[in-house]
Symmetry: D2
Subunit: 390 residues, 4 copies
Amino acid sequence: MINGEKRTAHPIRWAMVGGGQGSQIGYIHRSAALRDNTFQLVAGAFDIDPARGKAFGTSLGLEPQRCYDSYQEMFAAEALRVDGIQAVSIATPNGTHYAICKAALLAGLHVVCEKPLCFTVEEAVELRELAVSRKKIVGVTYGYAGHQLIEQARAMIANGELGDIRIVNMQFAHGFHSEAVEEANPATRWRVDPRFAGPSYVLGDVGTHPLYLSEVMLPEMKIESLMCTRQSFVKSRAPLEDNAYTLMRYTNGAMGFVWSSAVNAGSMHGQKIRVIGSRASLEWWDEHPNQLSFEIQGKPAQILERGMSYLHPSALLDDRIGGGHSEGLFEAWSNLYYRFAIAMDATDRDDQEQLSALRYPDIHAGVEGVRWVENCVRSADAGGVWVDYQ
Amino acid sequence: MINGEKRTAHPIRWAMVGGGQGSQIGYIHRSAALRDNTFQLVAGAFDIDPARGKAFGTSLGLEPQRCYDSYQEMFAAEALRVDGIQAVSIATPNGTHYAICKAALLAGLHVVCEKPLCFTVEEAVELRELAVSRKKIVGVTYGYAGHQLIEQARAMIANGELGDIRIVNMQFAHGFHSEAVEEANPATRWRVDPRFAGPSYVLGDVGTHPLYLSEVMLPEMKIESLMCTRQSFVKSRAPLEDNAYTLMRYTNGAMGFVWSSAVNAGSMHGQKIRVIGSRASLEWWDEHPNQLSFEIQGKPAQILERGMSYLHPSALLDDRIGGGHSEGLFEAWSNLYYRFAIAMDATDRDDQEQLSALRYPDIHAGVEGVRWVENCVRSADAGGVWVDYQ
Amino acid sequence: MINGEKRTAHPIRWAMVGGGQGSQIGYIHRSAALRDNTFQLVAGAFDIDPARGKAFGTSLGLEPQRCYDSYQEMFAAEALRVDGIQAVSIATPNGTHYAICKAALLAGLHVVCEKPLCFTVEEAVELRELAVSRKKIVGVTYGYAGHQLIEQARAMIANGELGDIRIVNMQFAHGFHSEAVEEANPATRWRVDPRFAGPSYVLGDVGTHPLYLSEVMLPEMKIESLMCTRQSFVKSRAPLEDNAYTLMRYTNGAMGFVWSSAVNAGSMHGQKIRVIGSRASLEWWDEHPNQLSFEIQGKPAQILERGMSYLHPSALLDDRIGGGHSEGLFEAWSNLYYRFAIAMDATDRDDQEQLSALRYPDIHAGVEGVRWVENCVRSADAGGVWVDYQ
Amino acid sequence: MINGEKRTAHPIRWAMVGGGQGSQIGYIHRSAALRDNTFQLVAGAFDIDPARGKAFGTSLGLEPQRCYDSYQEMFAAEALRVDGIQAVSIATPNGTHYAICKAALLAGLHVVCEKPLCFTVEEAVELRELAVSRKKIVGVTYGYAGHQLIEQARAMIANGELGDIRIVNMQFAHGFHSEAVEEANPATRWRVDPRFAGPSYVLGDVGTHPLYLSEVMLPEMKIESLMCTRQSFVKSRAPLEDNAYTLMRYTNGAMGFVWSSAVNAGSMHGQKIRVIGSRASLEWWDEHPNQLSFEIQGKPAQILERGMSYLHPSALLDDRIGGGHSEGLFEAWSNLYYRFAIAMDATDRDDQEQLSALRYPDIHAGVEGVRWVENCVRSADAGGVWVDYQ
Ligand SMILES: NC(=O)c1ccc[n+]([C@@H]2O[C@H](COP(=O)([O-])OP(=O)(O)OC[C@H]3O[C@@H](n4cnc5c(N)ncnc54)[C@H](O)[C@@H]3O)[C@@H](O)[C@H]2O)c1
Ligand SMILES: NC(=O)c1ccc[n+]([C@@H]2O[C@H](COP(=O)([O-])OP(=O)(O)OC[C@H]3O[C@@H](n4cnc5c(N)ncnc54)[C@H](O)[C@@H]3O)[C@@H](O)[C@H]2O)c1
Ligand SMILES: NC(=O)c1ccc[n+]([C@@H]2O[C@H](COP(=O)([O-])OP(=O)(O)OC[C@H]3O[C@@H](n4cnc5c(N)ncnc54)[C@H](O)[C@@H]3O)[C@@H](O)[C@H]2O)c1
Ligand SMILES: NC(=O)c1ccc[n+]([C@@H]2O[C@H](COP(=O)([O-])OP(=O)(O)OC[C@H]3O[C@@H](n4cnc5c(N)ncnc54)[C@H](O)[C@@H]3O)[C@@H](O)[C@H]2O)c1
């Protein structure tokens, strides 16, 4: 049966920091959060330019006085209201995440934070401890983690259908920044400036996406050591890389590989993950998200399709329409936000049972993404040597 | 620039008839209408079972007293409110569309009606005249008509990039009803019963979808004559067909072909359209909606991708996220509902300029779909002979 | 086990009529026949221009005196030699096939003839009777009939894996003649001139190919009636068509469809066949001949690959290299010629057992191709009406 | 114009060592060499088992006395004949290549040798010097190097259509040896035994194939340093690897990557190469060899098809049939053998002009393959460190 009618008891009062007019990622946050009546947008500090932010917020139907000049102001003012915000999403450039996330947690809010959570593992761990101690969730928006076929892959792997896992090949390699487009485009410019983007560009910006998918599919696997080499093919981007290769050894003897790139000329997204076991492989590609390739050695390859009753029950829970119809990134994000809502609600009620049944990119995923980038950069900056994973 | 923030001055007060708990198509109507704050769901007669409909409506957050037992009751009660509904969507089995649509227009409402609009051209024309005289719009939900690459195809054809149009090959041929699934499934049962489904099954249910895409892409082309042959491979479905072939001669000498099927075993959707000109062809397939194949004879085939700046401006207007990300059926429907909202608003303001610039499946599309089915059935029932298109 | 070493006891002494320097199809005949030492090229009347034909034959290593000015001369002279030719392949324009084939049979030769065998069923039946009475084989070169995955499809269908057969959709629709290329190219010119090409262009030239594949896959199915409509989009080709649609009713209630075209702009070959049963479908496409799609309704689609041990034994017999490697049209033709050699040898030895186990496009296939075109043309010329299949 | 009729003045008298009954690769050597009358098979030492080799040779039509017990015997006996062999192909297990190749060169023969040429660069250089001093060619059978679209890629890159080359991603990763199939299959067993296979398994067996394609496409690029990590997922294969990743830094700042694997479960071949420039990328895959993907950043991706007139002249030279028809591995090998014949003939005539215009995998390619494996193994065995390329 097609669910599609996701509802929680009461919508959560929700605000955004960033994601203003013309921003890349603001709309999908709103579209996903507001899709199923689980969140209600009541406030915002949408823009680095307060006036533009206010105009934008009111155009979205907010009360003007709840369109704030800054997140600090918003957190302070909302805390004084009985109907103040309960949760906030952070969709600002990377360099601000740590401070805003910390302020939000300290203000007693649940948080949805864009990746990367912050710049160092130290900061990430601090946020995690804060979240734990304050009993607040921090969701991180690895969008396709909400797609049903990722759940299907997880279930099949857990079920042993691939045999022993040997190899995990990942890539997120687009070509949109083959040239120095940042020279003309401010929204790209901060991405290649270490002050705002942090210690890496493509490793954090794209590589962490399929890495998180691998964490969902393969929850038991732990990286033991890795080596990374990174390049700045557009010279002016140095020290930040626009291309990187990472090789990983897992503690169980498996190998991992991640190709992160923004200079894969002519490629659209190229977010792919292929998990190879001793018996079979699974492959998924974000440009055709409704198909999952399942290849048992010595048998015909199979194409699994979203929405079909032969899938694992956990992969059918979130369908919004029957198989054959194309669900895409927006539905995956909506699924994530739905889970964020459930998690916030269950946390508030301290419902450990529901929480333990729930899977979403949480503060731990956020920490792990930062950790991976930190290790990659350490290896790359030492000349591409193998480093113990810390 | 990615738009994604579609807004009208005021959301339209909106209700649904049908589309209740567990219905196939109800969710996507709500998802599309409510996506961008252009509609506000305030009332409904969601279910043939009033109690279930009421429970469902309140679960969606409606006031209980605006969850009505029947559409008649709803139209009457809402007409008495200052804040009464302005528009209604009809998502009930085919056999009820005519009566509900007529009642809605008579109640002074704008209408979004599921296809087929009704069972005969006579009825369809009556609804059209009513809509025109009452100055109300009737939108019909040919979902993918809202997809950006359909606009791209239209623009390229208008621009002469295909040369003279010679051939239009269409299909919507899935396999979900290869067996008599209706025996166990009431939601399918009415589809193969002429009392509820009307004079055809797959011709109206699936064939009209790509037919409408062809009308969007090729607004000038007119069918002169057609021949149709239809089969009931699951015998108990007779006289309704589960498979049909239609051949068409257009007045300009071009040929058209439509394969409509519900017994294309193992196929997911298979909604495809290929337009062939003297110079080049275009092909689009709903299972990978973000790609459009453009094949100039004697040149390498090209894959056009949604969201890329080389597309026609009209194909970029409705983007909600950048190229490479997968937009699907839900975004196409949201685009349609956005255009329905604009059309309703412009009609109310009698803004002819805006109306003339707007393209959406309107009452004329509804009439043409009914007309095509009627001609197909006439040909098929005469043994598959060519009939003049009436 | 990979065979690849096909051998008969003695190579057959073989000649060609047509297929000269620069001809389209001559090389593949030689390549296929000579591949496995089953034929030996010893004579030829390669060209309408005797001098050019002689030069070409000697360049191929033939003795000059066995490069003849005409086929008449060749058949006469070779009959007088102890080591005279035993078989001949005819690769000339269509209009000459009947006369040459008849002369060859009368000269006591086995024949490989290009399609179409001739222009009328009457002629075809005459050739068949001659072949039968003279105990000679006539092979017809429907090239892909020799591909292993066609055998696989046949075996799976025979095995009931598709359930009852309902629909056979076929096409061979390329775009190479979207313009009047014949004006500049003599090798194309005869194809659109009824004097040389016969009563049809694309129906016979391309449509018969997938039709024969359907005969291999579905040996039991008989056409009961058909309707055909054909067009000359390049006007100067009339009365010969460059596009045609054929619908067929089989005696078992199944439906068939063939799209034949030379104006499918931008398409490469587009030879496809999809067989749909009550349980599953099979689909094969000549541009990726090593893959066969098997789609059971309600299960993941499967991609069967040539050369894999899960295939039916009859589909593994002819492999020349392991799975994963790409075999193409040349291997399929080589398989055909190998079977032609076996058939010639078995016929000479009157080995009925071997003959009955052998499958290849024989004189019956030749007759059926001509019959189909004749019926199509009869229907089309009557305005696209259904005609009983004669 | 379609060539297809490749001929040299006189066929070269040719023998084989190895490639006997049931061997994997013997047939394709014969099929390719004999395809176009450029070679004539006159002798052989086909098998490690002399009796089986003799039986096989005579079954191929050879004179029994020219089916030898060993290559030593063959080289000695043939040297005494006026019509003795002029060239020999070596299709035996890896461990024998060096000795046989050396013996053949010393016997004054041209050689076609399977890869890897030998086990160490030292041996390879010795063979090269011998070939140069004896004025003999050594061809190495990187089969797809003969495919027309590889020439197309080379021409486009040389022409600057990709901009500056930044990245070369390669893989040859099949799944046929996911299990320890060698336990039951002697033809696989030697491959994983260092005594017969040499210092590596998949690096040499599969990785060198796309590496050579990169050398053809990018003749100017030189590897500066590399790092390699290899695994034996089937434990009993250690120290030989069944999976390896190699990263390379080229002297011009570009990066290379090769994934070599025999445990990519469920994958057929997976030989792919993607060359990425500052402007565009090219991608080619051996399972669909007739298509080349050309992706200019910011433009629609293009699919180039073999046989089309828009290709570079050098990519059309070797066509055997028109575009749309599928040419595969056998045609690519035939092209290689044709070039080997030309090279042998031109070398014998000391025709430097013709030689300089000819491209084929020669002794230098052989040396470079061995060198790459040696460097990979050196890096891997040191723990996956970067090593200067020697
Ligand atoms: N999860 C994903 O798939 C995904 C995709 C794209 C971007 N992102 C992440 O989203 C974040 C935003 O990226 P983007 O591409 O939308 O950036 P953007 O530059 O397009 O938009 C940033 C927005 O934040 C606002 N802003 C900046 N500083 C602010 C502040 N101090 N207070 C309030 N508003 C502020 C800007 O005015 C702007 O509206 C980044 O961290 C990026 O890594 C994630
Ligand atoms: N546009 C498309 O792509 C598309 C896709 C599927 C269905 N449809 C169309 O949508 C319509 C509904 O199809 P479905 O598959 O959702 O059907 P369904 O049987 O799943 O649901 C029908 C809904 O209508 C309710 N209903 C029935 N009669 C009613 C009445 N008189 N008053 C109020 N509610 C009533 C039912 O209780 C149920 O909730 C049909 O016309 C169908 O052709 C269109
Ligand atoms: N089976 C297939 O897939 C396939 C594909 C292409 C063509 N064909 C068929 O092959 C036949 C030849 O087609 P083509 O495209 O190679 O034609 P073509 O015009 O390229 O070549 C025809 C050849 O026949 C020679 N010829 C003509 N009349 C002759 C005569 N009386 N005696 C001797 N030689 C003569 C010509 O000189 C020329 O060499 C046609 O019947 C065509 O339908 C079949
Ligand atoms: N170029 C390619 O794509 C490709 C593909 C497969 C194999 N190969 C190479 O081809 C070579 C052979 O591989 P294969 O898979 O065919 O092996 P195989 O084991 O299937 O066959 C080897 C053949 O060599 C014969 N032989 C062994 N030692 C001999 C000797 N001393 N004298 C004469 N004959 C001898 C064997 O009897 C057998 O017939 C290997 O070097 C392999 O790497 C290349």
